[in-house]
């Protein structure tokens, strides 16, 4: 590629060769050598941004990139697609091996961990100066998961939360032509669903290896989960205990079967044949249900925001207005810049581009991933999706889990002790005491680091 610099060098060489006849002989050689060097420097000016993204996002995001490269002719983007199952490990390995990409996708619960590693470049400076990114357009609860110790480390790319997927026909048969409100109402509905379903079928599927619902219920009850700046577990708190007991009650009353995810040979078949009428899950299942459920069932399923606890037990003292929609988890994936990247400028341009509402809406059409920018939800494709509307409501009521690297591990212990309590191998008090003990041990290193000021 011929660059402007090449012409500059060429001009000098020609001038010199006019001035000195000796140069005339050498000039072709000099021009050739410098010309090659000029080629190199031309390629240098073309910046290649390395972008790692996971699963189908890594595949589909490529379709957005021609527009980006058209707008920024000096930048090329190379997308590496990582499978979700290996992504976390690959990013950590890349960090250790100093082969981090310039920009990468990560689950927003991973952010505290990558911040602890100092792998992410804070975005504060870029957001303050000359950015036209409207932060207030993001769902506030989701944006909060990208902030830590007063810094913004990443921007939400698409969002994820948990809510009800339900069989509207079965619910109608149980006497609820519109979804009930509040946990009280839903609990009644579940009892009736179970009554109609018989011994082999259930009202709700809550895979016992998942920590999400017990944690959601605890957040709804206002339980702090951890105490003293996340130094210790706080699971014997009465609010957590109440939520935990409510969760166990769903199994005890036989409304939910004690099965794990691994046991569900085909979840969609089971949902279609009415093995359960309710399922708490995330947005990816809008697409999956649409593809995998038989056509006859398609009109008979819908989504609803999670209910909250109104002033009734088990969580007294809750605002009665909370009854309609209760909080759920602020999940999703974000985009971050690597701290060590020498191409942060170009990578930031890409991040800004992917954050544009138009690109977010386009990305939704390509993947079904729900946009993090609220304006993108006005796009007709998304506004017309009846199953997505409950998510839009729910996303106004989301809350983050404790922002510490140990959280995933703690959450895993919560599910473990919940399972033991469901199987009656432990009483509620035994389970919560053991949970506190385990979590205190998991957090021992964090306490030591905090004491010595090695982490903020």
């Amino acid at each position: 590629m011929f660059s402007r610099r090449w012409f500059g060098v060429g001009r000098i060489t020609i001038t010199l060769s006019i001035m000195f006849p000796m140069f005339r002989l050498l000039s072709p050689i000099i021009l050739l050598v410098l010309g090659l060097a000029g080629c190199d420097s031309g390629a240098d000016r073309m910046v290649t941004v390395e972008f790692w993204a996971m699963g189908q996002e890594g595949e589909r995001v490529r379709m957005l990139l021609p527009e980006f490269e058209r707008r920024h002719p000096g930048i090329r983007v190379r997308v590496q697609q990582l499978p979700w199952s290996a992504a976390h490990e690959k990013l950590l390995t890349a960090y250790v091996g100093r082969t981090m990409p310039d920009i990468f996708q990560l689950g927003n619960t991973w952010i505290p961990e990558f911040v602890a590693l100092r792998a992410i470049a804070p975005l504060d400076e870029r957001l303050r100066t000359g950015s036209n990114l409207a932060l207030h357009d993001y769902f506030p609860g989701i944006l909060a998961t990208n902030r830590l110790n007063g810094h913004t480390y990443a921007l939400p790319w698409y969002v994820d939360t948990r809510l009800f997927f339900y069989r509207s026909d079965l619910l109608a048969a149980a006497g609820f032509s519109t979804p009930p409100t509040g946990w009280d109402g839903w609990r009644q509905a579940m009892t009736r669903l179970k009554g109609l379903a018989g011994p082999d079928r259930y009202a709700i599927l809550l895979p016992i290896n998942e920590w999400q619902l017990p944690v959601i219920l605890a957040l709804q009850c206002g339980a702090p989960l951890l105490r003293d700046q996340d130094r210790y577990g706080d699971f014997r708190d009465p609010r957590f205990r109440a939520a935990f007991a409510f969760y166990l009650g769903l199994f005890e009353s036989d409304l939910a079967p004690p099965v794990s995810n691994a046991q569900m040979a085909n979840l969609y078949q089971e949902f279609a044949n009415g093995s359960f009428a309710l399922y708490v899950t995330g947005p990816w299942n809008i697409g999956e249900f649409g593809r995998r459920l038989p056509a006859a069932i398609q009109p008979d399923w819908n989504t609803a925001p999670l209910p909250g606890f109104d002033d009734a037990p088990p969580c007294p003292g809750q605002d009665p207005e909370n009854g309609a929609i209760g909080v759920s988890l602020a999940g999703g994936a974000s985009l971050a810049l690597a701290r060590t990247s020498p191409r942060q400028e170009a990578a930031w341009l890409l991040l800004e581009f992917l954050a544009e509402p138009a690109q977010q809406a386009h990305f939704y059409q390509l993947t079904g991933d729900l946009p993090a920018r609220q304006t993108a939800w006005n796009d007709p494709a998304l506004a017309g999706n009846r199953h997505a509307q409950a998510f839009r409501q729910q996303l106004q009521h989301v809350q983050a889990t404790p922002p510490i690297p140990e959280w995933e591990r703690i959450a895993h212990r919560i599910a473990y002790y919940a399972e033991l309590a469901i199987r009656k191998q432990m009483s509620v008090d035994e389970a919560l005491t053991a949970l506190d003990r385990d979590v205190d041990q998991i957090l021992a290193k964090r306490r030591w680091l905090l004491e010595r000021g090695l982490i903020p």
Binding site: L92, S260, A262, Q263, A265, Y416, L420, I455
Partner: protein, 296 residues
């Protein structure tokens, strides 16, 4: 001057050097590093900044030995080894005898068919077995229901999950041992059987007094390899149950994997690896000892 012996030794080392170098770099060095890691609290924090690393002596080992989960995992692993190991050896021996029998037609075909599970991807196998084990539509429960057996929740019932995993693992692995047994059987000179038959020995007597003793070395090899392999059980529970229900299929290696690569507690995971190594070493020594005493 280099003497001829010295010369031979030198060229011997020279020939060995590439292999030794590879083993040193890719085996001994990592093992030593892992041993060193097991005395630290190397974790995600230390990965970011080595100031956050502590040398903690034997704390990881003590913590491991005090952890209920480790003992559960050890118990499950022992269950898997003690039940699955002999079962696998017995079934592979039985299959080898059948395939090797003079009465079997098309033994090459059987040999291939029975070896197939060994070369099949475990994940694919696990998906199929998950269907077989399904409590409501599973083929296995359907078969049992013909005999009036109540449906069993194979992978969901804490008491049945490990037997279900063992069954699948044995089915998946016995083909390999079978091939080794067949090789061992074919090494037994046919005249021995002929002589025994002339002396009036029946089939059981032939098996007891000719086949078994002459298979001794093969037997020892198969038993040792199976035991060592079964101690390291990982993939079967990893894909079938992820250690559940209620940790009843959590194995030591699965625990090590979870601690190391899921939670990045490299120090603790390394300690678990060395404890398992010590156990396997001890069990192997014990088995060799028993064999030696048995043969003398």
């Amino acid at each position: 001057m280099i003497g001829p012996e010295r010369h031979a030794a030198l060229s011997g080392w020279a020939f060995l050097a590439p292999a030794l170098l590879l083993i040193a770099v890719f085996f001994f060095l990592p093992v030593m590093a892992a041993l060193a890691l097991s005395f630290t609290d190397f974790d995600i924090y230390a990965l970011g900044d080595l100031q956050r690393l502590r040398f903690i002596g034997f704390d990881n080992y003590l913590q491991l030995l005090q952890s209920p989960l480790f003992w559960i995992a050890l118990g499950n692993t022992a269950y898997f080894v003690v039940v699955g190991g002999p079962l696998s050896v017995a079934i592979s021996l039985g299959a080898a005898l059948l395939v090797n029998s003079r009465l079997t037609h098309g033994s090459a075909w059987f040999r291939t068919a029975l070896f197939l599970p060994v070369v099949t991807t475990l994940v694919a196998v696990a998906v199929v077995w998950r269907y077989l084990y399904h409590p409501r539509y599973g083929l296995l429960n359907y078969g049992l229901s013909l005999f009036g057996v109540e449906p069993i929740d194979w992978l969901g019932d804490p008491n049945w999950a490990m037997p279900a995993i063992i069954l699948m693992a044995v089915w998946k692995n016995f083909g390999f041992n079978m091939i080794i047994f067949i090789a061992g059987l074919q090494n037994i000179p046919p005249p021995l059987y002929e002589a025994a038959r002339i002396d009036g020995a029946n089939a059981w007597q032939q098996f007891r007094h000719i086949t078994l003793p002459l298979l001794g070395p093969t037997f020892l090899f198969v038993a040792l390899m199976t035991m060592i392999g079964y101690f390291q059980v990982f993939a079967e529970p990893y894909v079938m149950t992820q250690g559940g229900p209620a940790n009843r299929t959590m194995s030591v290696v699965l625990l090590m994997y979870e601690e190391g690569f899921r939670w990045w507690n490299m120090g603790y995971a390394s300690a678990a690896a060395f404890v398992l190594f010590a156990l396997i070493l001890a069990a192997t020594m014990l088995q060799l000892q028993l064999r030696r005493r048995g043969s003398s």
